[in-house]
Symmetry: C2
Subunit: 207 residues, 2 copies
């Protein structure tokens, strides 16, 4: 009576969630429910009983990612150095999105029929906006940077999910460094006030 689910049911449910997370990350939201069921060694009916709609599955599968998004903007807003906070938010969000094709799809509402994270996006957006203004007030972020520009950068980062997995992280970091360099007000030191090192990674190993 203590368990809401029979132990085998719970096990299957967990396997389904794990499979969904894997497949979503690798191939985006377009994976079929059947593929997920197959990967989880489960029949379609089992999957549908636990998650009647794909939306349910997506929401639960990306709970962690949503939470990390929260951490990222929270950390950024709490950083004593406004500019470093801004840079870290950009880089970490880009990395998170590039590593998980499915989460990017969901967060950007690429499949509005399946799931819409607009609410979360807007909530996070508000915090990001304060981070932007803080960095500008500190005289580090170009004053003409507007919130939509942040969306543009995220959208652009989405394109990097198409890069081969082996070089993706490097590509994203490099991309983030380019963009951040372009957003700095001219003459300002790269990255943090303390100068935590060059803002640009070495060139790609494989080129």
């Amino acid at each position: 009576m203590t368990h809401l689910l029979r132990v085998d049911a719970r096990e299957n449910r967990d396997r389904v969630l794990a499979a969904a997370r894997e497949l979503f990350a690798e191939s985006g939201l377009e994976v079929t429910m059947r593929q997920i069921a197959r990967r989880a060694d489960v029949g379609p009916a089992t999957l549908y009983r636990r998650f009647p709609t794909k939306q349910d599955l997506v929401l639960e599968a990306f709970e962690d990612e949503l939470a990390e998004c929260g951490s990222i903007v929270h950390d950024g807003a709490a950083d004593p150095d406004p500019w470093r906070g801004f840079c870290d938010v950009v880089e970490r969000i880009l990395l998170l999105n590039a590593r998980n094709q499915g989460f990017t799809d969901a967060f950007m509402s690429a499949h509005p029929d399946v799931v819409d994270f607009a609410a979360h996006r807007e909530e996070l957006g508000r915090v990001v906006w304060t981070i932007i203004r803080r960095a500008q007030a500190a005289g580090r972020l170009r004053p003409d940077f507007v919130f939509d520009d942040f969306a543009v950068i995220l959208l652009a980062g989405r394109g990097l999910t198409a890069a081969p997995a082996s070089t993706r992280d490097a590509a994203v970091r490099r991309f983030a460094a380019f963009v951040i360099d372009g957003l700095r007000v001219a003459g300002t030191q790269a990255r943090s006030a303390a100068g935590e090192g060059s803002s640009r990674p070495r060139p790609h190993p494989r080129s």
Copy 2:
């Protein structure tokens, strides 16, 4: 005997190509052959007789775009100002790709089963590479910029095809300006040596 096709056949063929170009531009390569046929007011069989495989259709539909790619890199290589040439190539290629979702798919080989532009990509790549070196030799492009970075930027630009059509061009130009600003060697003047104006557009009208 002068015509290889009957006049009605030729007309249908033209309508099919026009429809394909429209749909590919709007929605990418994933549009079905049936959708194209419907838009062209033509039966599926007609479409398949003229273009037995989607690859045939794609190749002919994007002839113009491929040619324009050639012009772009040619212009860039011929520009007396190496830096301006480089910047123009980046911006024009990004715009071309953002305006035509299908061409981007094809050029980036997002659907390798349908079409593979690898040959064209490589050929254009060689010219781009000389443009990069020229801009670096002129001391305007960061010396650590490598060819893969160009690919990264294109990949990122691909993400912008997801932006709403009404703001896409503005977003792309703004994005290009950000990136170019990040690629300039610090302390160098923006854009051309003559300073053809600020490299950054105004903020988005709709924000």
